[in-house]
């Protein structure tokens, strides 16, 4: 371990230097404002599932980061350092200890944020701290693996372009079989489309059914859409590992492709952090003005039903359902009512879980936690509160609008033996589709399009 002239490790010094470049006014406000009232404590699912362990308390975790700010960037830490608990990191071991807190004891779910009377946004500076550590190469192995996949392959799951295209073509064949229409297409790189549809790579790697279900909905709606051959991953690991450069690169690839295709609207499939990253944070990270509209596929599907473009029959989805709000959708983006409205249109028996909407508990797999195998036992222990919440609904199926939540919930449901299924709205909408006389119109449209393409 190399050291600097002040005896601090080279990496520790880099972390401190970098912090100075990352302190926005929002961050400083949160670092300075905590009065240690403890209101955040009971909002954290880690605390609720580990009641005897104060090291899970948001204020305690925040102080591990706050002490650096006080020591190196705040006047109070220079005048009365002991009073304000100013402190530093001296060794690489100190950084490893910080890593276990910022990656292993918080999912950046922001539930403490909305319950803080001072508006302290722990998730924002916890993310910053993650970024400081990643900057010097200190991160969980899984974070390293996924971040490198997204930097270099272009998506979080290392799906190669040829495999992506092959999967789309496979789902196109399925679409043709199900719609009994040899001209049914899942267009790729079609220019001037009304919609450019971007997805989570999990859909290609583990759940191609979701691609097919979306294609069926677009088909029945007669939508003018395309999927892009590049820049198709709307997820963004930069949100999780605190790397704004990665965040900007990933979001920029999506935006560049929509512009290249001259798409009118970007539709983002169901994924909480993907939606937040691509629609809300991405333009800032990428330092780019976006000239096209964007929306969640939840809103697109809801519009199709309301505008009569598709018909659905809720009796096709028997059983009881509850809805899990993704933290990023609900707390960070306010997407709470549209999914419920849509769900109520495609199932008969919908029961709220409590608390819900912005107060809902994290699936406990958020913030990239599903990629960090070393923290899995702690994550699943912290999931007790979520398991109890799910169980109390008395339903058989939990619906969510987030692929990450699907995995987080599936893991905890298995661990706590709840016997519940997890599904997404796209699956329920596709299953409820009424294939009526309109399909004949669509067949004619697609036949004409195929003829026109062949003639070109």
């Amino acid at each position: 371990m190399s050291t600097t002239t002040n005896g601090r490790s080279y990496k520790a010094q880099k972390v401190i230097d970098r912090m100075g470049q990352k302190l926005t006014r929002q961050m400083v406000g949160s670092l300075a404002a905590c009065v240690h009232c403890g209101q955040c404590t009971d909002s954290c699912h880690y605390v609720l599932s580990n009641p005897g362990d104060p090291t899970f308390a948001p204020a305690y975790k925040a102080d591990r980061i706050r002490k650096l700010f006080k020591k190196h960037y705040d006047w109070t830490g220079k005048v009365f350092p002991k009073w304000v608990k100013a402190g530093t990191v001296q060794t690489d071991e100190d950084l490893e200890e910080l890593k276990d807190i910022v990656f292993g004891k918080c999912t950046n779910c922001r539930r403490c944020t909305i319950n803080c009377p001072m508006g302290v946004d722990l998730a924002t500076f916890n993310r910053m701290a993650r970024g400081l550590l990643c900057h010097v190469g200190i991160m969980p192995e899984g974070v390293e693996y996924v971040a490198k996949e997204q930097w270099e392959i272009g998506n979080q799951m290392g799906v190669l372009k040829e495999d992506y295209i092959e999967t789309i073509e496979w789902q196109e064949e399925e679409l043709q079989d199900e719609m009994e229409d040899p001209n049914a297409r899942i267009p790729v790189d079609k220019v001037n489309s009304e919609i450019v549809y971007v997805i989570n790579p999990r859909e290609i790697k583990h759940d191609p059914r979701s691609v097919l279900d979306a294609a069926k909905i677009f088909y029945m709606a007669g939508a003018d859409y395309t999927m892009p051959s590049e820049g198709w991953d709307m997820t963004n690991f930069g949100l999780f590992n605190g790397d704004d450069e990665l965040g900007g690169a990933v979001a920029g690839r999506v935006y560049d492709k929509v512009e290249e295709l001259n798409g009118k609207k970007l539709v983002i499939s169901e994924c909480g952090h993907g939606y937040r990253s691509t629609r809300c944070e991405g333009p800032n990270w990428a330092k780019k003005d976006i000239a096209f509209d964007s929306e969640s596929s939840v809103i697109t599907m809801l519009k199709y039903i309301k505008e009569g473009k598709i018909k659905v029959d809720k009796t096709k989805n028997p059983g009881s359902y509850t809805f899990h709000d993704s933290c990023n959708n609900a707390r960070s983006c306010g997407l709470t009512e549209e999914p419920r409205e849509l769900l109520s249109l495609v199932v008969d028996d919908f029961r709220e879980m409590y608390p819900n909407r912005a107060e809902n508990y994290c699936c406990t797999g958020g913030g990239g936690a599903m990629s960090m195998a070393e923290y899995r036992p702690s994550r699943l222990k912290s999931a007790k509160v979520k398991a109890d919440q799910l169980s109390a609904t008395g339903t058989k199926t939990v619906v969510t609008s987030c692929h990450n939540c699907v995995d987080g919930l599936t893991d905890l449901i298995g661990h706590y033996k709840l016997g519940m299924d997890v599904t997404q709205l796209v699956n329920l909408v596709a299953n409820a589709l009424v294939v009526d006389e309109k399909i004949e119109e669509n067949r004619k449209i697609h036949s004409a399009e195929t003829s026109a393409t062949a003639a070109q």
């Binding site: 010097v136 190469g137 693996y145 490198k148 996949e149 392959i153 290392g158 450069e245 690169a249 560049d256």
Partner: protein
């Protein structure tokens, strides 16, 4: 998307492409010290190249920073891979180490009769070298090497996306200004 410049008997160009899918004598993989392929481009090498590359690497590591080794490229479009262990994550003397790594890649290419080679912007992306700095060092170091005369005919630097490509092009154009 591509741009190129003649330097002595060689060309130096910039393209936007997936470096692991280029049809070329050799491409540079920014390798770990232990030579494990890992994720990202390493994953692409494992999937597209097959198991023989990993097998070759078993007996070649570990490497010190700036060292390089050459392997075949299995079933990939390229013939060889130059595994270059460049500096990572803000380590000390990063610019000098990057330059030495690039020189070592070019020397290894010549020693192995490699006539065309593709570089990534060295150290950019996951390993944290800012793209503008990486683009400048990569382009300038290759140009300096080729200016002394080389048997390597074609060198391209591959931007993985528009952001990288747009950072590389002005650095190539700066060479023309210097020459003028």
């Amino acid at each position: 998307m591509s741009e190129k410049k003649q330097i002595n008997n060689s060309t130096l160009g910039v393209i936007k492409a997936d470096i692991t899918a280029t049809e070329i004598d050799a491409f540079v993989f920014y390798a770990r010290n232990d030579l494990k392929l890992g994720s990202g481009f390493g994953n692409a090498i494992a999937l597209r190249g097959g198991p023989s590359i990993r097998k070759e690497l078993e007996n070649l590591g570990p490497l010190n920073v700036t060292e390089v080794v050459v392997t075949t490229a299995g079933t990939m479009k390229a013939k060889n891979i130059i595994h270059a262990c460049g500096p990572k994550f803000q380590e000390e003397n990063i610019e000098e180490k990057l330059k030495t790594t690039i020189q070592n890649v070019l020397k290894a290419a010549e020693a192995n009769g490699i006539e065309s080679i593709a570089f990534p912007p060295m150290g950019a992306g996951f390993y944290g070298v800012p793209i503008d700095l990486s683009a400048k060092i990569t382009i300038d170091s290759i140009a300096d090497y080729l200016a002394k005369g080389s048997e390597i005919k074609d060198v391209v630097v591959c931007g993985n996306d528009t952001r990288e490509y747009k950072a590389l092009v002005p650095k190539l154009q700066d060479l023309n200004k210097k020459a003028a």
